[in-house]
């Protein structure tokens, strides 16, 4: 009887989460040759806008763009702060003044996921609900008012078994307050499936960052991909 009451609530939460994911969430994927599991928004912008071809640890990176679509729109809005036409003009400026190259542009999430899996250093983005194989999903660290913090200890979240069995994934976005010493002081949910969020928050509270002169607040995205 009790389980009959809980089940609709659980289903509603799951539905909410997956619908929320379809409404324009995006995850950043990379070829496994890219060594870090997380990068900052500043690094992501440098890869896509400034022609940065290697990360601080020496990993080769190259950007892959979508031609259009909800993931493309969400990516531009959230990370690059440019409209599609402004982005195209930006790349054309680079190309025709000799200050950069045009990134690879592909038509669909499937094409991007396939290309990223097969191409050393490729970094792209797909809709959150797309299942990807042979790539890693990068956590995106939002640099706050202070410089980005280097992650020293990362604990992976436990994927809730029921959701994994039901092939339900998604990205959870969290606001993480980090002390000067590097421990996580508090975690606030910004968006994502509430059940996945419980697992993500539990994991992130155990993360440890490198010490810094002052406390920092970062935005962290954690993706849950079934069949990974």
């Amino acid at each position: 009887m009790k389980s009959h009451r809980i089940l609709p609530l659980f289903a509603a939460l799951v539905m909410f989460g997956s619908l929320h994911a379809r409404a324009g969430d995006v995850k950043i994927i990379a070829n496994p040759s890219v060594r870090p599991d997380s990068i900052t928004v500043t690094e992501l912008r440098s890869i896509f806008l400034e022609g940065q071809r290697s990360l601080n640890d020496g990993s080769h990176v190259e950007p892959v763009l979508a031609k259009r679509g909800p993931a493309h729109d969400a990516f531009l809005r959230r990370y690059l702060d440019k409209s599609d036409s402004a982005l195209r003009n930006y790349y054309r400026t680079l190309v025709f003044t000799g200050t950069g190259l045009m990134p690879k542009v592909l038509a669909s999430d499937v094409e991007i996921a396939t290309y990223v899996a097969a191409t050393k250093g490729a970094v792209g983005y797909v809709s959150d609900d797309v299942q990807v194989q042979g790539v890693k999903v990068l956590a995106i660290l939002q640099t706050g008012t202070n410089a980005g913090r280097r992650l020293v200890t990362r604990v992976e979240p436990d994927y809730p078994e029921t959701l994994q069995r039901l092939q339900i994934g998604g990205t959870v976005r969290l606001s993480v307050a980090i002390s000067a010493k590097g421990t996580v002081d508090s975690v606030q949910l910004l968006g994502g499936n509430p059940i996945l969020a419980v697992a993500a928050i539990k994991a992130v509270k155990q993360w440890v960052y490198a010490p810094a002169p002052s406390p920092t607040t970062l935005e962290v995205s954690i993706s849950f991909t079934p069949n990974k």
């Binding site: 400034e50 940065q52 071809r53 400026t93 000799g98 190259l101 690879k104």
Partner: protein
């Protein structure tokens, strides 16, 4: 025939967009990209002929194109070259040139170097002024970006240092460029064409130039402000034909030409607003000090554009240009009839005030069409040219000119 072929090619390239998207291939396992662009315009004016064309009869002598090849050699090292050609009235005349050709080593995000022939960063649009498809307007504000004088600021043979720095405490980003090099004007440029009227035949017009640009992407989303400085030491050699003396060697130097430019741009959603101010001081000594001219050229504009629908953008600007000239030296009495002292900027000969209205239609991602109107007060021809030339206006100048500009461009 050549123009008709180019127009047909433009239409074909614009229509067959699927062939325009990705033009890259690999050489020695390195990505090589090939890109190109072309534009064709039409000018009609109701009074003075403009930009060395016979625009009062309608002129389609307004064509340019370019193509480039770039290759990423390593993660930090890239090389490329672009060829550019144009025909604008009596300028360019289908003489292709290397637009840029350089090697670029980007060590870190905050520091890179490039060397070769490099586009000069000066204000918001100097290095992109040929790239019609990037701009709302068919003609950028001519007070700052005179298309007939593009050679004077476009590129230098030398080197740049550049970088981007993200400021702490959420204060935005700073981008800097510093450069030094030599510029060489084409004999088919506006200045060489202008002095030809006075019997001067340039064989070499070159300048040492150095300067820099600093721009700040402010914490206020969409707001960019910046400043540029350009110093030039110009050497102009050739011959001059003077009635009593015949043809004699000609030389002119200017050791302290400078340009200051300040700019701001705000973009939010469908709206973009921008404004720039430029002051250019040209201090020239001709024929070993027999004649001196100091020209003080000032320009500014305010522009706005609105993306009405996905394919339609409209825009307008007000552009204001003025020039004063002071002539001195032993031969000034002789030159006075050609270049009288010009200090009153209210005279039409010493200013151009231009109101422009434009509509841009993007037919697809690679092909656009623009319709633009200009309403100009003055013709600004003093000791330094600015769009209006005596060669194509032998009857003299009228104070006002209205112009219709039609332009289409493609890129891939």
């Amino acid at each position: 025939m050549r123009r008709q072929t180019l127009i047909l090619a433009l239409l074909y390239l614009g229509a067959v967009q699927s062939s325009l998207y990705a033009q890259d291939f690999k050489v020695f396992n390195r990505v090589v990209q090939v890109h190109g662009f072309a534009s064709q315009g039409f000018l009609y004016t109701d009074q003075n002929n403009w930009l060395t064309t016979h625009s009062s009869q309608g002129s389609a002598a307004f064509t340019d194109f370019g193509a480039n090849v770039s290759m990423q050699i390593t993660d930090k090292f890239r090389v490329g070259v672009q060829v550019y050609d144009r025909n604008l009235g009596d300028l360019g005349e289908w003489h292709p040139s290397i637009d840029w050709a350089f090697a670029d080593y980007r060590w870190k995000s905050w520091f890179g170097v490039r060397g070769g022939k490099v586009k000069t960063v000066l204000g918001l649009h100097n290095n992109t002024q040929d790239l019609d498809f990037l701009h709302t307007f068919a003609l950028l504000p001519q007070s700052i970006y005179p298309t007939d004088l593009r050679d004077a600021t476009m590129a230098h043979l030398g080197g740049d240092v550049y970088g981007n720095i993200s400021l702490k405490h959420g204060l935005g980003d700073l981008s800097y460029t510093g450069y030094v090099g030599r510029r060489r004007d084409s004999s088919h440029s506006g200045y060489a064409y202008f002095v030809m009227k006075y019997g001067v035949n340039n064989s070499d017009l070159t300048a040492l130039q150095y300067g820099g640009d600093l721009r700040w992407k402010t914490p206020l989303r969409g707001l960019l402000i910046g400043a540029s400085r350009l110093n030039q030491q110009l050497t102009d050699t050739g011959t001059v034909t003077l009635a009593p003396l015949g043809t004699i060697p000609f030389s002119a130097v200017s050791k302290s030409d400078w340009t200051n430019q300040f700019y701001g741009q705000y973009a939010a959603g469908r709206v973009r607003l921008e404004s720039e101010y430029r002051r250019f001081v040209h201090d020239q000594t001709v024929l070993n000090g027999m004649l001196t001219t100091v020209s003080d050229v000032r320009g500014w504009y305010v522009a706005g554009s609105l993306r009405v629908t996905k394919p339609l953008e409209v825009g307008s600007y007000y552009s204001r240009y003025s020039i004063t000239s002071v002539v001195g030296g032993p031969l000034s009495f002789l030159a006075g009839s050609l270049f009288p002292q010009q200090t009153d900027t209210s005279l039409p000969a010493n200013h151009i005030y231009d109101k422009a209205l434009t509509a841009r239609i993007d037919l697809n991602r690679f092909w656009n069409v623009k319709v633009e109107g200009h309403f100009m007060d003055g013709y600004g021809l003093s000791s330094y040219p600015m769009g209006f030339y005596p060669q194509v206006n032998p009857q003299g100048f009228k104070p006002n000119t209205n112009a219709l500009v039609l332009k289409t461009s493609v890129n891939f």
